[in-house]
């Protein structure tokens, strides 16, 4: 029982470290009140996020840069990008 309490506390802490961040702007800050530059910048978030997630997956093999024909992921990615 004590063990479960321990996990419950960690879980609660992690929830507190997650949900409020996601709520911040959606609830607290109206888009009208955002500075213009921020609002325009938001336009680039989705593409920047996608690229920042994908490129390391394509270019890194076990943490090291691998730009060569032996990198299957890179080759697959290039083909996929071309046919999309």
């Amino acid at each position: 029982m004590i063990v479960l309490w321990h996990w419950g506390i960690i879980l609660g802490g992690i929830m507190v470290a997650t949900y409020p961040i996601r709520l911040t702007f959606v609830v607290l800050l109206a888009p009208e009140r955002m500075p213009d530059i921020v609002r325009r910048g938001l336009h680039y978030v989705p593409s920047a996020v996608l690229a920042a997630i994908i490129l390391p997956e394509l270019l890194l093999t076990e943490g090291a840069l691998n730009i060569s024909l032996s990198n299957d992921r890179l080759l697959t990615g290039i083909v996929a990008a071309l046919i999309t």
């Binding site: 960690i10 929830m15 470290a17 997650t18 702007f25 989705p46 593409s47 996608l50 690229a51 990615g77």
Partner: protein, 223 residues
């Protein structure tokens, strides 16, 4: 619809591996499933397991998760204009579901100019990801060490993301933002707590704004 399905299938290996890893770190099954049910944040969940496994204190675990999750503030800000007209009873659950995959799918659809009923789309996407994530975690808990981790299955998700990214690259500033973010994410890959990812996103957005301004200056210079 095709992309949605492949994203759903794409998260399954991660959910399986998460469940299996957590069990192998001797976390009680109920806490593992509870974690997926109550937090629903794929990469942060993996980080927590790794930290717990290496004997980190609860405070370190929670603080690290907080830093990793800072990028969700970006997501939240991006969603703000889309959800501005909605009452809190919509916003609160949508924010709850705002993890990477749900965000990119909604935002990519919005970026393509499809703004109709964005909140219903987000809710449907988020809920189906949520259910998939729970089932995958459960299966991972049950299967434990039987879950294969061969690096092939988990490549489906980046590929699907690629299919989302390519159609958005139709304007120079967006391409500049993506290129900058992607290259920096590779270069800063070694930074702890996925700070590289956060910095790469910031730099990408800045690059997009700069390219946009340069475009405007050039247009203004034309006779």
């Amino acid at each position: 619809m095709k992309i949605q399905l492949s994203i759903l299938l794409g998260v399954v290996p991660f959910a399986l591996i998460f469940g299996a890893l957590a069990i192998s770190a001797s976390i009680p099954p109920i806490a593992v499933q509870g974690y997926s049910l109550l937090v629903f944040a794929d990469s942060a969940q993996f980080l927590a397991i790794g930290l717990i496994n290496s004997g980190a204190t609860s405070v370190v675990v929670v603080l690290s998760i907080f830093i990793v999750n800072l990028r969700h503030a970006f997501y939240s800000a991006t969603m703000a204009p889309m959800s501005r007209h909605l009452p809190l009873r919509w916003k609160a659950p949508l924010a709850w579901l705002l993890m990477d995959e749900a965000f990119v799918m909604t935002a990519a659809r919005y970026a393509r100019g499809n703004t109709q009923a964005a909140h219903w789309f987000m809710l449907g996407t988020g809920l189906s990801l949520y259910v998939t994530w729970q089932l995958g975690t459960f299966a991972g808990i049950i299967a434990g060490s039987l879950v294969p981790y061969n690096g092939v299955l988990d490549f489906a998700l980046p590929l699907t993301f690629l299919a989302l990214l390519v159609p958005t690259l139709n304007k120079w500033p967006v391409a500049a933002a993506s290129l900058t973010a992607g290259v920096l994410a590779v270069l800063l890959n070694e930074l702890p707590f996925q700070l590289g990812l956060l910095l790469a996103m910031l730099a990408g957005v800045t690059a997009g704004l700069l390219a946009e301004r340069k475009n405007r200056v050039m247009e203004a210079a034309l006779p």
